[in-house]
């Protein structure tokens, strides 16, 4: 086969080069077929999803007879209900977010944010943090690219904080496990922390605490290879969403299952209300403690949320549990070590401090509210 490729059609975001009509999967050849197929898939998905609980109960009853509070069977039931449920939600949301992300790239985000008024830039930066594809291993080149292109430091931080903390996987799982209200509050408070931290860093004028060599760099423009083709066809966007599913779901499923297994263990063996005294609403000190424990820890959202669910079911307060989760996914030791290359210690300290305080505040807020 003679590869015929035009460099201009290859972008950072498309997995496949310009698809030839006959190289497309059958389902993508006509919009009608695609819409019909998608509708059919969603109906099937919904039917399966709504019957998982009954199915898990049936299987467990078949295996062990009536559960009657026995720890092992209830742990098993928890696992065979939650594992497919979480994986199904994850697949759907990662696909959807993947398609949305095909419209964004760090380069485009940088262009949108460059030269923004410092005060009007924080909110869009935090919002773009959700939809821009970003991995914390790219945090440093991204930081340099933003700052040298004239994105204000605080605005850059609003982006860098929101990108890992307001996480689509977390959003999907919270929605699935706790309902839309909790998911919406998580989204709102996560954005709030990112914007607030950005504003604080702006107000403190910390530009001199960026390593000196950073401002000396002229970041090149990498337009053709890095910017997603704005003329991506809908087929390419679907393929992009699908490749996100393959990338992310294949990577995180062991963590998800491990998280659910730990959750199942807690669910079966930890007595009801054991955690109420330790992590309940009345134990105010548990919020800062949870954040303190969570900051150096790192896990992806997919692994931590089933544990959060199990903690909640044993009497831990929602605010405390969410604060723990946000601290684990939003701030991590590896990311801080990477960022140390471009940030001097005072700025690192302010970054961690402001975000941690923000999360503690959110924890208290949830505990008081719910």
């Amino acid at each position: 086969m003679e590869p015929q490729l035009d460099v201009h059609t290859i972008s950072a975001e498309t997995e496949a080069p310009e698809p030839q009509a006959d190289a497309l999967p059958v389902i993508l050849r006509s919009p009608t077929l695609f819409v019909a197929g998608t509708a059919l898939f969603l109906v099937g998905w919904y039917l399966l999803y709504t019957h998982l609980e009954a199915g898990a109960a049936l299987i467990t009853a078949g295996l062990f007879g009536p559960i009657n509070g026995r720890p092992f069977p209830s742990a098993v039931e928890f696992f065979i209900y939650e594992a497919p449920k979480v994986m199904m939600l994850l697949t759907l949301v990662v696909f959807g977010v993947g398609m949305v992300r095909s419209f964004f790239s760090p380069e485009r985000t940088r262009r949108l944010l460059a030269g923004r008024n410092e005060y009007l830039g924080h909110v869009p930066a935090a919002l773009l943090g959700i939809v821009t594809p970003f991995c914390s291993c790219s945090a440093v080149p991204l930081f340099i690219g933003f700052v040298t292109a004239g994105v204000p430091l605080g605005v850059t931080f609003a982006f860098l904080i929101s990108a890992p903390m307001v996480n689509e996987i977390a959003l999907a799982l919270l929605f699935g496990l706790f309902g839309w209200k909790v998911a919406a509050w998580y989204l709102g408070t996560g954005l709030f922390i990112a914007v607030l931290s950005g504003i604080v860093i702006s107000r403190l004028h910390m530009e001199r605490h960026v390593e000196d060599w950073v401002y000396g760099i002229t970041a090149g423009a990498c337009d053709q290879a890095c910017t997603p083709d704005s003329s991506m066809t809908w087929q390419e966007r679907v393929l992009y969403g699908w490749s996100a599913v393959k990338d992310i779901v294949l990577k995180v499923w062991p963590y998800v299952l491990l998280g659910i297994a730990v959750g199942a263990g807690i669910h079966g063996y930890v007595p009801e209300n054991l955690l109420a005294g330790l992590m309940g609403k009345d134990a105010w000190w548990s919020v800062p403690l949870a954040v303190l424990l969570g900051v150096p820890m790192y896990s992806n959202a997919a692994g931590i949320i089933p544990i959060v669910e199990a903690l909640l079911s044993k009497g831990a307060a929602l605010g405390t549990s969410l604060a723990f989760m946000m601290a684990v996914i939003g701030l991590s030791l590896p990311e801080v070590i990477i960022l140390r290359k471009v940030l001097k210690p005072p700025l690192i300290a302010v970054f961690i401090g402001v975000v941690a305080v923000g999360i503690i505040f959110v924890g208290f807020f949830f505990n008081a509210l719910l």
């Binding site: 590869p3 490729l5 950072a12 991995c135 291993c137 440093v140 080149p141 970041a219 890095c226």
Partner: protein, 77 residues
């Protein structure tokens, strides 16, 4: 020909490095393949999403591991 693989320790960066080595070797392409881990250099190329692939100073791909056929086409152009 100089081929630079931009990126620090991400799984895809190593994947891209290995794939490029393989393509170069299998097709007897006279190219030198090097890893670039200096953040300043990566930023200078304007690459935010690693791995980045740079051939003779020109960024060919960022944020993904290209398919073998694409890679071969770039390397033999």
């Amino acid at each position: 020909m100089k081929v630079e693989i931009l990126g620090v320790g991400c799984a895809k960066c190593n994947q891209l490095y290995d794939l490029t080595q393989k393509v170069v070797k299998n097709n007897n392409i006279p190219a030198e393949v090097v890893k670039v881990e200096d953040m300043a250099v990566i930023a200078k190329y304007g690459v935010f999403l690693t791995p980045g692939l740079v051939i003779d100073g020109q960024v060919k791909a960022a944020g993904k591991v290209p398919k073998e056929a694409e890679l071969l086409a770039w390397l033999t152009r």
